[in-house]
Symmetry: none
Subunit: 211 residues, 4 copies
Amino acid sequence: MGKITGLENVHQVPPKVRRMYAAVIQLIEEGADATGIRVSTITDRAGIGKGTAYEYFDSKEDIVACAVVYQIQRVFDWLENVLSEKKSFGDQLNFLLDAMSIQDGRKHAFLRFVNLLTDNSDFSRSVREKMEAEEFSQYLPVRVFGRILQRGVDRGELRADVPLEYLIYNIFSHLITYMMAVATENCFRVDSQMMRPLVYQGIMNEIGKTG
Amino acid sequence: MGKITGLENVHQVPPKVRRMYAAVIQLIEEGADATGIRVSTITDRAGIGKGTAYEYFDSKEDIVACAVVYQIQRVFDWLENVLSEKKSFGDQLNFLLDAMSIQDGRKHAFLRFVNLLTDNSDFSRSVREKMEAEEFSQYLPVRVFGRILQRGVDRGELRADVPLEYLIYNIFSHLITYMMAVATENCFRVDSQMMRPLVYQGIMNEIGKTG
Amino acid sequence: MGKITGLENVHQVPPKVRRMYAAVIQLIEEGADATGIRVSTITDRAGIGKGTAYEYFDSKEDIVACAVVYQIQRVFDWLENVLSEKKSFGDQLNFLLDAMSIQDGRKHAFLRFVNLLTDNSDFSRSVREKMEAEEFSQYLPVRVFGRILQRGVDRGELRADVPLEYLIYNIFSHLITYMMAVATENCFRVDSQMMRPLVYQGIMNEIGKTG
Amino acid sequence: MGKITGLENVHQVPPKVRRMYAAVIQLIEEGADATGIRVSTITDRAGIGKGTAYEYFDSKEDIVACAVVYQIQRVFDWLENVLSEKKSFGDQLNFLLDAMSIQDGRKHAFLRFVNLLTDNSDFSRSVREKMEAEEFSQYLPVRVFGRILQRGVDRGELRADVPLEYLIYNIFSHLITYMMAVATENCFRVDSQMMRPLVYQGIMNEIGKTG
DNA sequence: GATGAATGAGGGTTCATTCAT
DNA sequence: AATGAATGAACCCTCATTCAT
């Protein structure tokens, strides 16, 4: 049988593979580092035999990389749907900041994904490779945010005098850092409660259309 | 002999340990992931016997964690010195953006450090633990930037109407993201050349004293 | 799969484990000391992969301890069966002394087991711990000899005026020392041939029912 | 310098070597097994440098073997002196049984020595080899007890109708087993208090001159 | 297709021994 | 003579991968 590529449509993913993905994501949320996860841990949590993993994937790295790609796809698909329903950019931004204020494993996992997109380990590179596939392009964070922000520009809520790329850059910049601040409060040494309105205002000042 | 803690003064670090640190940093710059580095690789590069590593450290994890802490200490010590010599915040910012425009292993390594400060793997936690020591506090990124920015405020160049913490947050936010953008140009899909002046202006607008 | 405890019924022991046990016993008979045996030696002799050992046991110490417990169980089970078939205590004693007159590796191994039961190294303690389990109690040397001697008392062949415990002590005392004398003839500096009838008579005098 | 052989006269042993011996014996009394003791543990306890051990000995095995031989020599020298002062064999026997009733590390160590004399591991063989030297012969347990018992025979207290060797065998048999019974009370499952008079009487019956 | 027992290469760690000081 | 930092061979144990059932 052909092996899994990680780019299957969400609905084409076989149930056992889905359970493996869930196990991997769960482990990452619990703080495991991507390359250190053991195959047996994944298959145990997925409730399947160890050998079965190799019916679907060629190697351990592949399992984890596909799970990560799958999760990014799912999260950004969901995010776009949810954000599209908001009336204004202000509502969208509030929604995002709210989502980030909740400190939990998913926050950590998300930061791990950010890291994956930016470091140059072998593993990260293999994830990025998968994400470069045509099938994936619509879920690329830059694309998703690009569409959301473009609509904000079209609605006249956001600045049109700078490239869309800068808007994307700017929103990423604040969101990622805010997330970091929340995730590692005692390391960053900031009071995220107090920070939140400043962040909101900061973003609005920078990319919102002024008076 | 007492084992290395990672908090030794830079000049107290024994030469062999220094060579081990250099090897670790080099490996991380080359894309290795912290927990995957092999002891034999470190000692080979350092030109010492494998057993010698255990004369100084208790475990492999410890070697890498200490190397990372040491490097952060060195980099931020250097950074503070360099930035202190600049006349204005504008000069400081230009220096930082210039430094980040150079795409190389050190950039990647730096992002890896950022990741370390924000994820919750066992390894990251052990690095953060070391950084919480009193001896280290003066090198903490938030402290270093705090001092730099405070002087900017004192000189009347930066806004005094928001908490210093927000200034720190803001500068981190832009610098880290700009670094990511440079490091993964094809993933972020932005033209960092074009972006640079926008980033500079964005920061200045947000935290610089207007009017 | 659950790990081996060393208290499995002889017929429940998986074939590979049985081969490992055989290898360990053989090595001890050849003079290896229990804690110095190497895992690779065991698995090589057993004709299995090194990793396989860890499918069944948690650690090297465990392998050896279980092998020893297994062997004690087997030997004393066999001994009770054989002795039970003898008509009189005299026959039983002759059988035991004959068995001990044969100088070979098994003799040495047996003495090693005696040592294990009496020294207080970590390893010995772990063997004794296993032997304290309910499942093992019927094979305990004191129990086996207790039953044999009790029948001698019941048949009117052995003294009933001292506690059974003393009979056990007495028979152990002579058998173990006789075994030592045979095993280390040049160290003990005795002629075991000449000694044998004296030992027989000594035991009979001490615990046999007189006139 | 010539290396230590283990057969030096007690007064010729250099102070550092003596401290090493003391460390080894102490460790064995604490339950360590002879081959598992580490050089660094010995030298640490002896308060000397690790390298110093190799000024006196060729190998670790040698250190431990010499320490054991030295200790046997000392103990049996002491024992002969003490026993020689007793008036009768009965007094001597009582002294020995008293000595053995005290449960402590030295008891365990002594049993370890017994084991060393009877098993056939490489280490034990090297100890026995040293003990076969002419210089050592006067301290050999069989010799010491031989002299003590011979005097008992000469005084008319002990049987003269069996070879002296049998007397030696007999006393060893009971003493060693009694010691084992005391050392591992819960394993042997005997009440050593209750046993003591029986052991005394048993020995007297067997080797004492009757009528 | 699914399994999990079996494997063995690989890597962390220990520790006896050496040798320059 | 005494030292202890340095070494690397040795050895335990892990875990990705295979394959017979």
